[in-house]
Symmetry: C2
Subunit: 320 residues, 2 copies
């Protein structure tokens, strides 16, 4: 393995190879998880068809399936199988999908486009989009509670519930919104170091916690040890933040066609982002450092961790 801080330049043979490795993993994850997401949203007549259609629109839209990949690969490197971690992978993707549906609502980010398709409230209506999110959330918990062994189901629900709660995912989103709406007025005037700290706190909760939960649930499903959990948590923390910095860079520099969603919207809203606060160069450096940190954390797993290492390196080198 090459030095992880030494991220491949786009278009080089090394970048092409990294991209190939990661795409192979993600494609396998997508093929594994797709039918399971389909099956999980095949509900009885008690679930109204319009609601189910909205849930499937949100959940079955083509996506990278990064969170399922983390859950499945965490299970594998802990000595378990993808099959064991399948309920965890499905559940984290449901929480992710619900959070996107609600984030896109007119009262929140008011977005029309997501993954290259109309957002849920545009494809259906606002009430249905609210209910769609409201229904995806408990479906994640019933999936864990029904499909995992009784010995781990409770702990799995605890991990996911904390990651989805007010101190994590929803709290991060609320603070992000608060800054954007000017409810927290002095962010723009604070010193850079405090702005970075603020962004890191927001992102740790808004995206990081669910990455961590995906890894932890995969580990749990595979009966991993506490040492496994700790190593994966260190990987996840660095991975999550690196991902977000890369996302900010892509939002600032990507095109709508590449991204399948509106871009440049952060800057339009005068929102704090890593490139606006630190500049692009320092942001890329920080992302590279975090990638190195993530890779170092799971180095003890040896060769089985290669796919997660490749994923961490790719996440900051990707173009979409």
């Amino acid at each position: 393995m090459s030095n992880p801080t030494d991220l491949p330049k786009s278009g080089t043979p090394e970048a092409t190879e990294l991209d190939g490795t990661v795409q192979a993993t993600l494609t396998a994850v997508q093929e594994f998880i797709g039918p399971r997401l389909e099956a999980a949203t095949t509900l009885s007549d008690d679930a109204p068809p319009r609601l189910v259609a909205a849930m499937r629109h949100a959940l079955l839209a083509p996506g990278k399936r990064l969170r399922p990949a983390l859950a499945l690969e965490a299970a594998r490197i802990c000595g378990g199988s993808w099959e064991q971690a399948a309920p965890a992978a499905v559940a984290v993707e449901m929480i992710h999908a619900y959070s996107l549906v609600h984030d896109d609502l007119p009262a929140m980010d008011d977005d029309d486009l997501r993954r290259g398709r109309p957002t849920c409230h545009r494809a259906f209506d606002e009430a249905t989009a609210i209910l769609c999110g409201d229904a995806l959330q408990p479906l994640a918990f019933s999936t864990l509670a029904t499909e995992l062994p009784a010995t781990t189901a409770g702990e799995a629900c605890r991990v996911l519930a904390l990651a989805a709660g007010a101190e994590a995912l929803v709290g991060g989103q609320a603070d992000d919104l608060a800054a954007e709406r000017g409810w927290i007025t002095d962010i723009a005037d604070r010193p850079t170091v405090e702005q970075v700290d603020w962004m890191e706190r927001v992102h740790r909760r808004k995206t990081g916690c669910l990455f961590l939960a995906a890894l932890d649930l995969g580990c749990l499903a595979a009966d991993g040890t506490q040492a496994h959990r700790d190593a994966l948590a260190a990987y996840g923390r660095a991975f999550g933040l690196a991902f977000q910095i890369a996302d900010d860079l892509l939002d600032a520099e990507g095109t709508e066609a590449d991204m399948g969603k509106r871009v440049g919207k952060d800057a339009d809203r005068g929102k704090l982002t890593f490139p606006t606060v630190l500049g692009s160069v320092a942001s890329r450096e920080r992302a590279a450092e975090l990638t190195a940190e993530a890779c170092a954390a799971i180095a003890p797993f040896g060769e089985p961790a290669d796919s997660l290492i490749a994923l961490a390196r790719w996440i900051t080198a990707r173009r979409k």
Copy 2:
């Protein structure tokens, strides 16, 4: 015990006695559950203050605490304690509170008043109200998963998640909305028997399932037997529908001052209700039959079930 079908007339000594018995139970439940709801929403700095304030506004508003009462009393008559069932009681109230916050949103029922106070999106804002509901939901699951013994935590999360899902609570709300918005156009023209069937299906999911979950979780927390679960389920099914018929009657006949929320709104929207479809007299008869059914279902528990029997009789006799 008097014949349960023979509901006391308002203002009679019997009605006053029933009211006294039930009020004593509900007051004890409120005093027991209040500090626990407070504690459960005392969160770390990672939860933004505005979000937490909205969650507390929604959850700590004065309410009957019917669902906690069902959970706690179910535990008691199964031989357990209120203490054992406290996490179940807290969790069902959180799901109930979140569902009210989202039901009241402008895109849904667009209500300004709830329990005599401004609804969450009026007291705060729409985005915060959406996030408040989104955060109360996982808090219910983390409460169960953290505070119940590991042996029952998974099953408890399963029961609650199914009751909160697309085939239950959210499904009922979606169908209710679909009928109101005219997405299901032929309801108004269907024969009475089909309209009643439709309403019962909506209410079974929209309110009944969470009553059932409250009873089931209480039973589960107390290590009740399958026979206990079955008896409580039969009670809960009848109780839930009787409650809804009574609610429809109150909406049609109550005053805003009594109810602490807008009344007559069902009729304003041309929505199907038991009194509009069956008439008030037949609706009262149906409620009385269901009350008798509920009481018969838990008669085998003997004297300990007296409070749940009184609750079922009161629910159809209450004035608010």
